[in-house]
Symmetry: C2
Subunit: 207 residues, 2 copies
Amino acid sequence: MTRIITINREFGSGGRELGKRLADALGIPCYDHEIIEMIAKENGFDERYVANVSETSIEAAYPLTIGHRFNVPLMPVMDQPIRVAVAQRKILENFAEKGDCVIVGRCADVILRSFDPLRIFVYASMDSKVARCQARAPEGENLSRKEMERRIHQVEKSRAQFREMYTDSRWGAKESYDLCLNTSHREIKDLIPALVSFTECWFGKEE
Amino acid sequence: MTRIITINREFGSGGRELGKRLADALGIPCYDHEIIEMIAKENGFDERYVANVSETSIEAAYPLTIGHRFNVPLMPVMDQPIRVAVAQRKILENFAEKGDCVIVGRCADVILRSFDPLRIFVYASMDSKVARCQARAPEGENLSRKEMERRIHQVEKSRAQFREMYTDSRWGAKESYDLCLNTSHREIKDLIPALVSFTECWFGKEE
């Protein structure tokens, strides 16, 4: 049985770090930026453009949803955001077919539903998210607490909107996931052994 | 460091079984019915009456909240529901002071906040909850699907209302807990090793 683990996360919750560390501990790949890089490389796009489209744009996913619901074939001449979204879906499916992996973000839990992934959601208190964002901010960036909170809200709102186009299950609602983990003021690395154990319990131990 | 693990759960999610099994695996006591029995025994109440008051009655908790917020001493002559709620708080605190334990329900996560408990919430899909309730229904009880759903909603609403009197943090909202676990169509016993590992990660391993 292929073990696909998807990580969705609040901005500043440490979800990306958690995905990388969990994948390392399990000895399987973690896909995150790699997805963007592949889409860009294989389709001749600029990476920053792909990054923008592939997780924060509503329009990008919209025609995919339509296509699925009404079974309308995609037009031969597609807009760039649609091409990005289609490429993303294909790349996610390719990754999943290759074998066990962790995938961070990008609605992988919904797109790869047929692979029956373990769906993890990572969240934290606003205090903790602001602290994490400030700790990893690039040198010279000195956002106020209020500005940082605004940015967190913006990113999370985009993620929620993007998800809505793929599915009725709400972003961040516990019902959409198998395991929700509160990382407030916790070291991510301290939680990894438990998540490894959780993965083994969920899928059954690898022989 | 005392390891207090509190379990809140949706009705039919298997949360009670999970609490018992986790406590067994950790070799620590699990308090659930025991709380009701002790309150009844020490205060001369009927057990069924205590069971009703101690988790489903709003009035029971109300004067406690008032007492805490405005520091009003409790009246020497108290109504029975208030006496039950006070007894419950004292018994929970006694349990926590005795040492490591799992406590199922009864707002223990809020009442024992100062012990910094690991707060677990257990939930499941309606399909799964109905199936669990039907499997454990007493012989002769043949509720329809609709009646079972109504009962589940009623119990969960009571739990949510009871909680509201102790705290602003919402019952079932992931932000109120450290770990939320979806047990839909899962065997509870299969998840226990992961929860043991999670407990060790959370509190640090016992020497």
